[in-house]
């Protein structure tokens, strides 16, 4: 088994403009996503939604600045840490991850345990 981080990149504007019903639908979709993972052979190890990039603070060479590290149209808005047999299984799981205002990036976790 290997671990992967699913990074959810979405337009923050989409969320800012969404109605309460739309936001509830997103929450339901994430709950359903989490429920689907075992059936695909994977395990959910954790995950969180992030506050918008307006709340971000960046530090580059000890200089603290307001805002995200990289300004992009679609910003990192949340993540899941999953365990899967291989990249194909991780991708099958990630395809189900809700990201209506953007998409996701899948990155293998660097195993530093040496085993």
């Amino acid at each position: 088994m290997a671990q992967y981080l699913i990074l959810i990149y979405e337009s923050e504007e989409g969320y800012a403009k969404a109605s309460p019903e739309e936001l509830r639908a997103v929450t339901t979709a994430h709950t359903r996503f989490a429920e689907q993972i075992p059936a695909l052979g994977g395990t959910m190890l954790g995950g969180n939604a992030l506050q918008p990039t307006t709340t971000a603070t960046s530090i580059r060479e000890d200089i603290v600045t307001d805002g995200p590290f990289v300004e992009t149209k679609e910003a990192l808005g949340g993540y899941y840490l999953i365990e899967a047999a291989d990249l194909d299984q991780a991708l099958a799981i990630s395809k189900l991850c809700p990201a209506g205002f953007g998409g996701v990036e899948v990155r293998p976790i660097w195993d530093l345990s040496g085993g």
Binding site: A85, D86, L87, D88, A90, L91, G115
Partner: protein, 398 residues
């Protein structure tokens, strides 16, 4: 240094990688600490240390990653395929995994499936060998680190994944069919390589119709090889070729495969392209070709594969069925879309259509644009010939 490292590494591929890593760490260390008194010895030691490190790590990875640890046990000859068909097929799908970029897919397929050396692959892509070595290394690392699986995809995924494999083989073929640059029209080595791969895939997946379609497409198009250049080294268009000299054995084999690939309806994009090639093959002359059928097949192909290149090729059939103005309208629409901005065959086709419409000075402009985008000597010579024709005609008519 490579040999010294290879003794520790036990694998020339690994040794190459370690030597490169040593150069990278040298760059860091020497910038920081100054150049050592014996740089060569420093590098060799660093490379050997790296090899020992990698070996230790590989001991634990060996079970999981047969692909990376033993890439060279893959037989280089297509004939050997019957020995271990399953392994070979797994390897093909791993090399052409969609998580790898197209160039990496082609490079890995040539390295691991065809057994080409990194130097030979660099030659294929016309890039320096270190560039290709780095590309292959990066791709291998991604396979290992992201756990790209070493297996044939299940039936739900197979159509998409197979399409990626066939695209790699087809790309190899088209690169050989008309060399992107240089003084030869055809790179026979690449064509033969793609033909070998397509044959191998058919042995491995006898029931996949798109594999048949691709093999048929390559056979039927390549059957014209010897007639595409005349004895003076001039490029000949399809309408000028001596059809009696097309390779009969390839034609016969290709036609049988097309029939099979089309059977049962719902043919894929390679089968439809092969069907277009078959119509040309069966036509007695260029003028007597069933252009309506060619046009219908292009419409079918566009529905399956809405590519601007297909749309441009379709314009030739439009020319033969509906005349040059109708074809020019479609080419101009494609031009305006900007989707074929750097594609040399767009201005070349425009030039030809404008020439047929007696708009010679515009045709000359289009041919100049095409020449600027063309690096193959025979194609350039052909376009230059056309350019001087239309320049002459525009003088005599103005």
């Amino acid at each position: 240094m490579l040999a010294a490292t290879a003794r520790v590494a036990g694998d020339i591929d690994l040794a190459e990688e370690c030597v490169q890593d040593a150069y990278v760490s040298a760059l860091d260390a020497w910038t920081r600490d100054g150049i050592p008194s014996n740089p060569a010895a420093w590098l060799t030691t660093a490379a050997r240390h790296r090899a020992v490190d990698i070996h230790r790590r590989n001991q634990t990875l060996r079970g999981k990653l047969p692909l990376l640890v033993e890439p060279d046990v893959v037989p280089a000859d297509v004939e050997d395929v019957q020995l271990i068909p399953d392994d070979r097929l797994r390897l093909v799908f791993t090399c052409c995994h969609p998580a790898l970029g197209r160039e990496a897919q082609v490079a890995l397929t040539l390295r691991l499936v065809c057994g080409l050396t990194t130097a030979e692959i660099a030659q294929v892509f016309l890039v320096p060998e270190p560039t290709m070595a780095a590309r292959v290394t990066r791709a291998k690392k991604k396979i290992a680190l992201a756990h790209i699986p070493y297996r044939v995809p299940d039936s739900a995924e197979l159509p998409d994944r197979l399409d990626a494999v066939l695209t790699v083989v087809h790309l190899l073929y088209t690169t050989g069919h008309t060399a992107p640059a240089g003084e030869q029209l055809v790179r026979a080595d690449l064509v033969d390589r793609s033909l070998g791969l397509a044959r191998m895939l058919l042995v491995l997946m006898p029931d996949e119709r798109e594999v048949r379609g691709l093999l048929a497409l390559i056979l039927l198009t390549d059957a014209r090889r010897s007639t595409r250049v005349d004895t003076a080294g001039r490029m000949l268009l399809l309408e000028e070729q001596d059809r009696t000299q097309w390779d009969r054995a390839q034609v016969t084999e290709g036609l049988a495969l097309v029939v099979n690939a089309l059977r049962g309806g719902g043919a894929g994009r390679f089968a439809v392209q092969a069907a277009i090639a078959a119509v040309h093959t069966e036509a007695p002359t260029y003028a007597d070709t069933d252009w309506r059928q060619v046009l219908e097949l292009y419409d079918e192909l566009l529905r399956r594969w809405p590519s601007p290149v297909v749309a441009l090729n379709r314009c030739v059939a439009v020319l033969m069925v509906d005349g040059p103005q109708a074809a020019l309208d479609e080419v101009d629409a494609l031009d305006a879309s900007g989707r074929l901005a750097e594609y040399r065959y767009l201005p070349a086709t425009r030039g030809d259509l404008l020439r047929r419409l007696d708009r010679f000075s515009e045709a000359a402009q289009a041919y100049r644009s095409a020449i600027a985008l063309t690096d193959n000597d025979l194609e350039r010579a052909f376009l230059a010939g056309r350019l001087s024709d239309v320049v002459e005609l525009s003088r005599s008519t103005s």
